[in-house]
């Protein structure tokens, strides 16, 4: 495990109290209490986030940046205050290194577009890996096809870890401009060795983007300690609203990059002949931002920081151990990946049963899991499967829920695999 992902202490998390913060957890589904094991796709929202958003809309709202009046000033303060919070969360050197986007996907596209087309030159290469989410594959393919950048794919081991030899050989010719890798796989749960990746890449003259969509939910991330060049995450997986994501970029890199989209707020001065850009990070935030959602993200960050990342990591590690132990008792069940360092995400197949049927039968028991390709079709191909089911855990997940899930899964197996 790299620096920037803190070692797990063992403080215990008061799950019962946490669950009271999430109104949706008292809902029933098909007559059964909801057991939500799909947090890796999108997490549920605590009242603190819901209230931050409603308070904004009920009490203190106007467009930001452009207004001189009280409501606009106050809303701008709240909006810009979240930039400080995100900078603290990631331990960025400066708030100006935080760009707000819609989600991780847009953040990666921004880099692929602006750094890729604006700074990289044809003939250079981008390295990704076999275990990337489509969000960290397709933008680079589009860059390849539009701008003559080579796309190289680092292998993973059969255990589902990044193959560092493969990475080293891809870096060897010095033509790699950017290494873009997941910090935690949304399928295998694997946490990648960020510090090693960064030092290997830097030694070869390449910059590094880490896709922290999953990692940031489970561990404390320190971009300064990691010395990573770009880091992205998405609000809705961190118990925040949809519509808001984050790009961290080192100041000098952001400065060197041309803007991505044009419009209000990202300009210095506009004439028809010539337009100048605003300072970083505003250069990358065209138009009215997702004001209410950004404020919601701020509340989500406050929420997870109040719980603390050490208890969160410890809780998820305990749940994952428990789930892996219980799943091992089910005949014909195969867990995908067996990385040393892993987060609270478990994908599996069941011999003789299709993931869709498994998911529907679990849904009939109130258990929400994901089934399919998890936006990682090339990884499915690498693993030699068409699809899998995935259970993923959040701060509100309990051991009892995992037991209920495993029992329901065993029932599904008995029905489907006769």
């Amino acid at each position: 495990m790299g620096a920037g992902v803190s070692e797990v202490a063992a403080p215990v998390l008061d799950v019962a109290r946490i669950r009271r913060d999430f109104p949706i957890l008292s809902e029933t589904v098909r007559g059964k209490p909801l057991v939500f094991l799909d947090s890796a796709a999108s997490a549920q929202k605590p009242v603190q986030v819901i209230e931050a958003m409603t308070d904004t809309m009920r009490r203190q709202y106007a467009n930001v940046h452009r207004g001189l009046h009280w409501m606009s000033e106050r809303t701008s303060d709240a909006y810009e205050g979240v930039r400080d919070k995100v900078a603290r969360l990631l331990n960025a050197a400066s708030r100006d290194e935080i760009v707000f986007t819609r989600n991780s996907t847009e953040a990666i596209n921004l880099v692929a577009h602006s750094y890729g087309r604006g700074v990289m030159t044809p003939g250079q290469a981008v390295v990704i890996s076999e275990m990337e989410h489509h969000a960290n594959i397709v933008p680079w393919q589009m860059l390849r096809d539009a701008h003559g950048i080579e796309l190289r794919v680092a292998k993973i081991t059969d255990a589902g870890e990044l193959d560092l030899d493969s990475l080293a050989s891809l870096l060897a010719d010095g033509r790699v401009g950017l290494v873009a890798l997941t910090h935690m796989s949304n399928v295998l749960g694997t946490i990648t060795p960020a510090e090693t990746i960064v030092s290997m890449a830097h030694a070869a003259g390449a910059k590094v983007l880490l896709d922290g969509s999953q990692a940031v939910v489970h561990r404390r991330v320190d971009v300064t300690a990691l010395d990573v060049d770009f880091y992205v995450f998405t609000g809705h997986k961190l118990y925040g609203p949809t519509g808001i994501g984050v790009l961290y970029g080192k100041h000098a890199l952001l400065e060197a990059m041309p803007p991505f989209m044009g419009g209000g707020d990202m300009i210095g001065t506009v004439s028809f002949e010539h337009t100048t850009w605003a300072e970083v990070p505003h250069k990358f935030e065209a138009g009215t931002p997702a004001i209410i959602e950004t404020i919601g993200l701020g509340a989500a960050i406050d929420y997870v920081e109040a719980i603390g990342f050490d208890p969160i990591s410890a809780h998820e590690a305990a749940l994952t151990d428990h789930a892996l132990a219980r799943l091992a008792t089910i005949d014909g069940l195969n867990v995908l990946g067996r990385a040393q360092q892993r987060g609270g995400v478990i994908s599996f197949t069941l011999d003789g049963a299709h993931a869709h049927d498994v998911a529907t039968l679990l849904d009939q028991s109130g258990v929400a899991v994901r089934a399919g390709q998890h936006c990682a079709e090339p990884l499915m191909r690498r693993l030699g499967i068409h699809s899998s089911a995935r259970a993923s855990f959040g701060v509100y997940t309990t051991e009892q829920e995992i037991d209920h899930f495993v029992d329901a899964l065993d029932g599904a197996r008995r029905l489907l695999v006769a």
């Binding site: 399919g372 390709q373 006769a418």
Partner: protein
């Protein structure tokens, strides 16, 4: 309204999925394929015609139990019904997918197909699983 496990995954559905009657290929037949890209499922249909009529139908299906059963039932029906009657039955099946209610008293593969569709009705995300095979059939039918 709620369908429990036994209604959707009835024995005969699972049996038909596990041991299809019409799986395989037809040498020299026309063929069509359909894929559900979001889960990797795929169905390939083979049809053989004589004097314009379909006289044999086979399928190769990679998919869930619902998709498997639906494919096998459609293959059975394709060789037995003429194309217009199968198209009519298909429309009826799509209606059942909306209503969730299968008409009473229908027998054989047609009855079973309508039963599968009634069972899957309330799982909207699974509708594509049930419908995929017909797309492959239609493609094969157009090809021939």
């Amino acid at each position: 309204m709620s369908t429990d496990a036994t209604t959707l995954y009835q024995d005969w559905v699972l049996a038909r999925a596990r041991a299809p009657l019409h799986a395989g290929r037809i040498a020299g037949g026309v063929t069509g394929v359909a894929e559900n890209r979001s889960c990797g499922d795929s169905v390939r249909f083979w049809l053989k015609r004589q004097d314009g009529r379909v006289v044999a139908a086979r399928h190769e299906t990679e998919g869930c139990a619902i998709c498997q059963a639906s494919a096998d039932l459609i293959a059975g029906l394709a060789a037995g019904l003429n194309e217009d009657r199968l198209a009519t039955l298909w429309e009826e099946a799509c209606g059942v997918l909306e209503s969730g209610v299968a008409p009473a008293g229908r027998q054989g593969d047609a009855g079973m197909l309508l039963g599968v569709f009634a069972g899957v009705a309330e799982y909207r995300a699974r509708h594509r699983c049930a419908m995929l095979p017909y797309q492959a059939y239609e493609q094969a039918a157009r090809a021939g």
